[in-house]
Amino acid sequence: MELTGAEIAIRCLREEGVEHVFGYPGGAVLDIYDAIFRQDKVRHVLVRHEQAAAHAADGYARATGKVGVCLVTSGPGVTNAVTGIATAYMDSIPMVILSGQVPVPAIGQDAFQEVDTVGITRPCVKHNILVKDVNDLAPAIKKAFHIASTGRPGPVLVDIPKDVSQKKTEFSYPSGIQLRSYQPATKAEPDMLRQVVQVIMSARRPMIYSGGGVILSNASEELTRFAKLLHFPVTNTLMGLGAFPATDSQFVGMPGMHGTYEANMAMQNCDVLIGIGARFDDRVIGNPAHFFDASRKIIHIDIDPTSISKRVPVDLPVVGHVKDVLKQLLSLLDASREKPDPGVLQDWWNQIELWRSRDCLKFDRAAEVIKPQLVVDTLYQVTSGDAIVTSDVGQHQMWAAQFYKFDRPRRWINSGGLGTMGVGLPYAMGVQTAFPDETVVCITGEASIQMCIQELSTCRQYRLPIKIVNLNNRYMGMVRQWQEFFYGNRYAESYVDALPDFVKLAESYGHVGMRIDKPSDVEGALKEAFKLKDRLVFMDFITDQTENVYPMVPSGKGMSEMILV
């Protein structure tokens, strides 16, 4: 049977098992919207701003591991979505963006709502495709899903001119796809792995440094077995939290700019560092020169060859799918006659425990004002550590990462690479849409939440019972902290003035609002909010205005040069 391009697009989504699409209509995609209207398999979630469509699809992908999908119109629809696309790109999130485009004959004519979408998005997508012929549409969408979800994942955009969505052709969905120019590595070379095992077995001060790649490749189980078998300490990056259980005694916390003292000291002083699905980025390693003042052997397992020896030279590079490589390593270790001996690590563990006893995350629990750390800590208790937590960007993000202990992967959803304020609420929408019965919490700040605040309306329409924890310090706290430390207390434009009454604001959207300004009310308020299972509750916590995130490695400094409380 012949179908229109619009119908084909939706049929392709069905073939890919897509259940939800986040989007916003407009002229160039009206045919696609009409096709959505005339079926009931693919459900559309209407956001209030295209940025949120991209973020929600991204959050959906982070939480489920499936490809997130969003749909936007040409011109301003696409440009609004760019922040969301770039955010997903920086964190390697599998996502497919369908964008409308002006009709093929109008391309290049400065037509109404025309932008060079492929040109604008090229630097922030894994790949993009402009479809000029309806016969190419199904193969293009197949290719997009394939590229988005394999290798190092990432967003792929398919730009569909309006006339292509209107033209008809015979529909058949390609069953498989083979691209001569794209064959991502999976398994690693056995020779290299044997060397890796040797180095691992000879380590006396080992350290596992694991990142978002472990979560993306669903390798948490393998990582945990690997670490347990060897009794090595583990640090998870901001993107890797939950890959190894945070409540396990082998976990030493997050590394980096706001990492724990013990994680950073162990990274700096280990003799063998095993980087797994992590990319040695500047927020983790700090100044690379300082990092190399200490000598250690570095093993780096990553699917993307460009990540290896990019910022720090690596001794043993292993290119492969993290899950496959860990499986290979486990079977080598299982088969090896030499068994791991935790005894030889005793001195190292003693040293780590000494660092840990520094208690670098301590804060004043008896303070008269609400300490933001107290809110996250209490949230962790009240939700029994079982919520899926999204966050925005700033101090609250760091406190969430430090104080909410994630024991499972895909339960901590935040923007690491791009650091995009505004993601928190749309991320929570994506997550709650995927998992209607899970407890979903958005930890945010009064500045970040205002960047996509309009989405409270989407939450109302789809009855998404998200719990928003607003750590309201009346400052762009992270900016204020840098100004305090590095700009002589000159707080230029970081005070968030003229704040709305968030309680009334939430109520006006049909939600429940709460304002909490006493430490003694924190626990009660949280408990009350979580009892309202089917409602969105906006909790506005009035927190200590001048609290800072510690430890802190100032930028340009080395990992062990932390400012501590």
Partner: protein, 164 residues
């Protein structure tokens, strides 16, 4: 900072060139020259990029090029035996200059005069970059009206073959 020549086979699709060019500008890599044209297989283009960089940067360029979805194969020609050629056309003025001298020089460099007008010669010359530079140097600077160079094209020697 060493000079390197990358040779690429890529899908002959619209936008493929801008992906390569965009990669170089986004990551701050140098491009000394870039030449591209379809091959005998109409689905493939072959590109030669001449660049300079430290060993680290050159390694990253290779990996980053390889990562582009449209790039089928990429090789650093400078790492092995290879041949490099560039085509140049130079238009020189013959009105004041000595046409015989120009013809003699062209001969020495094994060039060809491919167009003649009342007051100009156009010379075609092929060779590696250094040879073309030498020819320009040998010519009287004041006689040169216009030059066009294609940038280098490269190919591996003998059994060094870049297949899809």
């Amino acid at each position: 900072m060493m000079r390197h020549i990358f040779s690429l086979l890529m899908e002959n699709e619209s936008g493929a060139l801008s992906r390569v060019a965009g990669l170089f500008s986004a990551r701050g890599y140098n491009i000394e020259s870039l030449s591209v044209a379809p091959t005998e297989d109409a689905t493939l283009s072959r590109m030669t990029i001449v660049t300079t960089g430290s060993a680290d940067v050159i390694e990253q360029i290779l990996k980053q090029l390889d990562k582009l979805i449209d790039v089928v194969r990429v090789v650093n020609l400078t790492e092995g035996v290879h041949i490099e050629r560039e085509l140049m056309m130079v238009k020189v003025s013959t009105s004041e200059g000595d046409a015989d001298e120009i013809m003699r020089l062209t001969d020495i460099f094994r060039g060809k005069i491919i167009d003649v007008s009342d007051d100009t010669y156009t010379i075609e010359l092929t060779g590696d970059g250094a040879k073309l530079d030498a020819f320009l140097q040998a010519l009287d600077r004041n006689l040169i009206v216009e030059t066009v160079r294609t940038g280098a094209s490269g190919i591996g020697r003998g059994s060094r073959i870049l297949n899809p």
